[in-house]
């Protein structure tokens, strides 16, 4: 019900939203939770296992019960904490884990079977018959499990990520956080103040204390006015710091527009904050008490009840009982009474407690059980020897406070038990650069929090080398904290710990009985704390119950590990920007658009896109285009773009010596104007990459790498130059982006090249020669190299003129009966020649395997030389590269198939090798394959069985050399 005249909601702005289709009236400033309470809706969710009806329990992100879904379709967001969701006009909220409705939920039948569903019962059954697990038991369990439901539609990529940097990150804006931020800000530090709530102030928004003569909200407002006016302060509300990482890095989730109707604004923003110092002032979380029937709607945390009453002006009923073990109980009773709510009883676990209030008071009493079905109606109370019933709508319970040390524990520091406050606190500097202040530091009175915030602020200011300018401390309430342990009340009926996962004290005791006695065993066996709230409200209580069951102290029992994130983070926030193409950069070659114009399908080649083939009208399948392009290259001339190849310049007096280290063959002896094929090994003796090395001048070489290995080779060269050969005087630089490069291949390639060069004579290059020339006045580099087996050139031109040169080359090629060719044809051409790609340089092959052992210089050291000589990398047991042709009735070859002796079974034991690349060769009118075959070079002429189970292809093949076309290379040398 709504309380008149209380709360910080904006009563001039009514807001309507729906809950399970019912229209709910609320005010601006309400959360879904406060609005539901205002409308007397008591059941807000169903529990995970037993489908127990559940009501609001907390008022913050630790809420275990009120998990709802907001929105529909692709915007549906499951498991939203109703306590954190601000209302907006038209907001669509539905409850979860119930059918057909919250109040009539068929799943509640599970509760009847609860005696058989104790902790870990599923480990002891469902084993027979074996096939039933996947077919019967598991589907049933899966359907029953889970809380919310994803819509099944692709989520929008509607969030964003950002970085921020500061001197001091203050987490939490209660009295300690505000004071710390003010202290640091006045000293001139760059401050980020992050607050999870929609409003700054923490508990000050929920309590009736005065500070410096102002109400809590007023004082918060005055501090905020100062902070927001400072240029060195960034105030971030709706921002939960979710994780602490190394060197002062924090993750934080900002709910940018989830409190508004959907629009174009980002929904959430995931921040990466780098902070020199951090002050953790995240407050403390109140904990409940495990007593029979404590999950009844209407039982809630005392602090939460004060928040509902004081901040939102709502109450769960006409009367309330307050039960606690600190002065919190009395504060709650006072606030309730002043709000006009009947205080039916105050029960203080401390036998020596006194009260000033005008209500039934039971020092040393306890609650034994609850009554009511869908909502609390009454309590069984024990006081002394007397047991009696108190009729009430609401029980406000407090078992004490747990400092929010989660973030302090994220990078390995263990919290420390303090007997005086019956709680875990963080150890000293639990995260490098982090200080803990206020309630998070185990200080539970306002004056103490203010002072501790000031202290922490000054520590941070000094640590970053600024002068302190301490603000004055305002007067505030200062009550010593006195607590008596109050964890559980044993009795008939179930007492819940983890409300979401339906873990009870019995489950914890059963775990101990079965020897799951360490906290981690207990947690994993019972699932205590593995629910969406991660046990925020229940873990410490569960540990206390475990300690009691094992006869140990809580301190000796210890805790489980806190891990990020502090609150659950949507994948769409942490992965923002990646949907579709945003996952990795797209790289487009200079002639990309021109290839697309010709209708070429563009396919991914690493980050690049390359044309697959260039279809002509009338060609229906890729093979027709590919075959034509291959013939075109073999018969006239073809042009293809090879700009994606890595291009690296190596310069300097020691460039040649350096290249001798990284290549297996000798490059220092290469003459100016010449190109040499080169092979690079990894230090482990396997092939890293191949490519060409051209010597443009005495002290300038240009290397090409494969497209795939370009970045790896650059990093490798940097490593060798800086780390292994720092004494050599040379410089390396990638020029991949500077040069567009085109291969011109075919018998008429020379005619084409000569026709476009300003000085046609420059086109008369010997095989493996290179020169600088010009086209229409633009300087180009011309290389006489071939990856097709035909007479071929590669022409490099500055990228800005790449598209123009491509168009020029095509125009001239067409006049010669040629045209463009794509990756498919390029692949066929190289397979016909037995040239390599990474299908063969697969990371496990050696120069020896590839038949390139002759390229390994015996006269010098090079990377990979020593380990390539290991006995296991040489000899007859190695799989060596061979060529294959089908010889039986079946004419098709496939890549990835295995080879077996003719007549041998296709088993692992009989494997002789496997195919790496295959192609239909229009030139030779047959399929061709490349393969690795055990001792293959000695087996040319042998017939084998090729089996591809995956594609259901089997063929008889004949082994030959890798090169199937023009083996002496006459065409290439031309």
């Amino acid at each position: 019900m709504r309380l008149e005249g209380r709360g910080q909601i904006d009563r001039d702005h009514p807001v309507r939203f729906t809950f399970d289709g019912r229209v709910i009236d609320a005010f601006r400033g309400d959360t879904v939770a406060s609005a539901l309470m205002a409308n007397d809706i008591r059941v807000v969710g169903r529990s995970f296992k037993y489908h127990r009806p559940r009501g609001l329990y907390s008022a913050g992100s630790d809420e275990p019960n009120a998990l709802v879904t907001t929105g529909r379709g692709r915007d549906a967001l499951p498991n939203v904490r109703a306590t954190m969701q601000e209302v907006w006009e038209g907001l669509d909220v539905t409850s979860q884990n119930r059918w057909p409705s919250l109040t009539r939920d068929v799943g509640a039948i599970n509760d009847l079977f609860s005696p058989f569903l104790a902790a870990g019962f599923y480990y002891k059954t469902f084993m027979w018959p074996r096939a039933f697990w996947e077919r019967v038991y598991e589907p049933l369990i899966r359907r029953a499990a889970g809380l919310g439901r994803l819509s099944g539609e692709a989520a929008r990529d509607a969030s964003e990520k950002a970085f921020a940097h500061c001197d001091v990150l203050v987490i939490g804006s209660g009295p300690a956080g505000l004071m710390a931020a003010l202290t640091a800000a006045r000293a001139g530090a760059d401050v980020i103040l992050a607050e999870e709530d929609s409003h700054m102030g923490g508990r000050l928004l929920s309590e009736t204390d005065t500070i410096g003569g102002l109400s809590g909200p007023q004082w918060v407002g005055s501090v905020l006015n100062e902070l927001t006016a400072l240029p060195n302060v960034r105030v971030m509300e709706r921002t939960t710091v979710t994780g602490a990482y190394d060197q002062g890095t924090y993750g934080a989730l900002e709910r940018v527009s989830l409190h508004r109707p959907p629009g174009r604004a980002p929904r959430e923003c995931f921040w990466r904050i780098a902070a020199t110092r951090t002050i953790l002032a995240a407050g403390a979380l109140e904990r409940g008490v495990a007593f029979p029937g404590n999950d009844r709607p209407g039982v809630m945390l005392a602090s939460a009840l004060r928040t509902y009453v004081n901040r939102w002006g709502v109450a769960p009923g006409q009367s309330a009982v307050v039960w606690g073990n600190t002065d919190t109980a009395h504060r709650t009773a006072r606030d309730l009474a002043s709000a006009g709510i009947h205080v039916a009883a105050v029960i203080d676990a401390r036998a020596d407690a006194t009260t000033t209030g005008d209500w039934p008071f039971y020092p040393g009493g306890e609650v034994l059980s609850t009554q009511g079905r869908l909502g609390l109606k009454g309590l069984q109370v024990r006081h002394g020897r007397r047991e009696f019933t108190v009729w009430t709508d609401c029980l406000a319970v407090s078992g004490g406070w747990n400092p929010s040390v989660h973030l302090a524990s994220h990078i390995g520091s263990r919290p420390v038990w303090r007997d005086d406050i019956q709680a875990f606190v963080a150890g000293p500097e639990p995260v490098p650069g982090m200080d803990v202040a206020g309630a998070a530091n185990g200080i539970f009175d306002t004056a103490g929090c203010l002072a501790d915030g000031l202290r922490a602020g000054n520590v941070a200011v000094q640590a970053i080398g600024l002068e302190t300018h301490s603000p004055d401390l305002p007067d505030a309430e200062a009550t010593p904290y006195a607590i008596t342990p109050l964890w559980e009340v044993e009795g008939k009926g179930r007492a819940w710990l983890d409300l979401q996962n339906d873990v009870t004290t019995k489950d914890v005791r059963l775990a101990a009985q079965e020897n799951f006695r360490s906290p981690e065993h207990m947690k994993r066996y019972t699932t205590q704390g593995m629910s969406p709230d991660q046990g925020k409200g229940s873990n410490v209580t569960a540990l206390a119950v475990l300690a009691a069951a094992t006869g140990a102290t809580v301190a000796a029992t210890g805790t489980t590990t806190y891990r990020p994130p502090f609150v659950p983070v949507t994948i769409s926030a942490m992965g923002a920007g990646a949907k579709g193409k945003g996952f990795a950069p797209e790289r487009f070659t200079p002639a990309h658009a021109a290839a697309v114009e010709l209708g070429a399908p563009m396919i991914e080649a690493g980050l690049w896109y390359r044309p697959s083939f260039f279809p002509l009208s009338g060609e229906r399948v890729w093979r027709e285009s590919c075959d034509r392009e291959v013939r075109m290259v073999r018969e006239s001339v073809g042009v293809t773009e090879v700009s994606t190849l890595g291009k690296i310049e190596v310069m300097g007096p020691d460039a040649g010596t350096f290249l001798d280290v990284v290549y297996t063959n000798t490059m220092s002896s290469l003459a100016v104007g010449k190109v040499r094929y080169g092979l690079m090994l990894r230090e482990d003796g396997h092939v890293m990459d191949d490519g060409t090395v051209a010597r443009l001048s005495e002290d300038r070489f240009v290397l090409t790498t494969t497209t795939a290995a370009a970045a790896e080779v650059m990093r490798h060269l940097d490593f060798v130059a800086q780390g292994l050969r720092p004494g050599l005087n040379l410089r390396t630089v990638s020029v991949t982006e500077q040069w567009a490069q085109f291969a011109v291949a075919g018998p008429r390639s020379e005619a084409l090249v000569r026709s476009i060069l300003d000085d046609p004579a420059a086109g008369v290059l010997p095989f493996m020669g290179c020169t600088e020339a010009s086209i229409s006045g633009t300087g180009v580099r011309v290389f006489r190299i071939s990856f097709s087996g035909e007479k071929g050139y590669e022409i490099a031109i500055p990228s800005d003129r790449g598209e123009a040169l491509w168009r020029l080359l095509l125009a001239h090629a067409r006049m010669l009966g040629g045209g463009p060719y794509g990756l498919e044809a390029l692949n066929v051409l190289r397979i016909e020649k037995g040239f390599l790609t990474h299908a063969e340089m697969n990371g496990r092959s050696t120069a020896f395997d590839l038949g390139l052992q002759g390229m390994m210089s015996a006269k010098k050291d090079f990377i990979g030389k020593a380990l390539a000589a290991r006995p296991g990398l040489l000899g007859e047991t190695r799989e060596q590269l061979v060529g294959l042709r089908p010889v039986g009735a079946a004419r098709m070859l496939t890549a990835g198939a295995y080879l077996f002796g003719e007549g041998a079974a296709a088993t692992r034991e009989a494997q002789q090798g496997f195919t790496t690349s295959v192609a239909w060769s229009p030139t030779l009118d047959t399929f061709l394959g490349l393969a690795f075959l055990v001792n293959g070079r000695a087996r040319h002429g042998e017939r084998l069985r090729m089996v591809d189970h995956m594609r259901n292809v089997e063929a008889l093949v004949e082994v030959g050399p890798p090169c199937a076309f023009d083996p002496d290379g006459g065409r290439m040398r031309g």
Binding site: F163, Y245, D246, Q247, G248, T249, R272, A274, I411, G412, P432, E683, D684, M714, R715, D718, F719, Q722, G723, L724, P726, D861, K865, A866, L867, A869, R870
Partner: protein
């Protein structure tokens, strides 16, 4: 995690590529035994504590040797591998 590139200053981990132990800087001489070579490339002290590891600052191309704790991830020092060469 943040690391300091001696050329660029302190940067987020995402700017770096990690390579593992810095022992690979101590490449055996050409005439070393097969055992020495195998040890060099494969065997690692793998300390639980202070370690020297290699990182590559991708944007600027500098290889650095970082002295750091493998337990706490504390960074103790960073220098270019050029200067770290034993």
């Amino acid at each position: 995690m943040r690391l300091t590139c001696p050329h660029c200053g302190e940067r987020d981990l995402r700017e770096f590529a990690a390579r593992g132990s810095a022992v690979v800087l101590s490449r055996p001489s050409a005439g070393a035994s097969a055992e020495e070579w195998a040890d060099y490339l494969h065997i690692r002290d793998n300390p639980a504590g202070e370690a020297r590891d290699l990182f590559y600052h991708t944007p600027c191309g500098l290889w650095i040797e970082v002295t750091r704790s493998t337990i706490t991830h504390a960074v103790i020092a960073a220098r270019p591998v050029r200067e770290a060469k034993p």
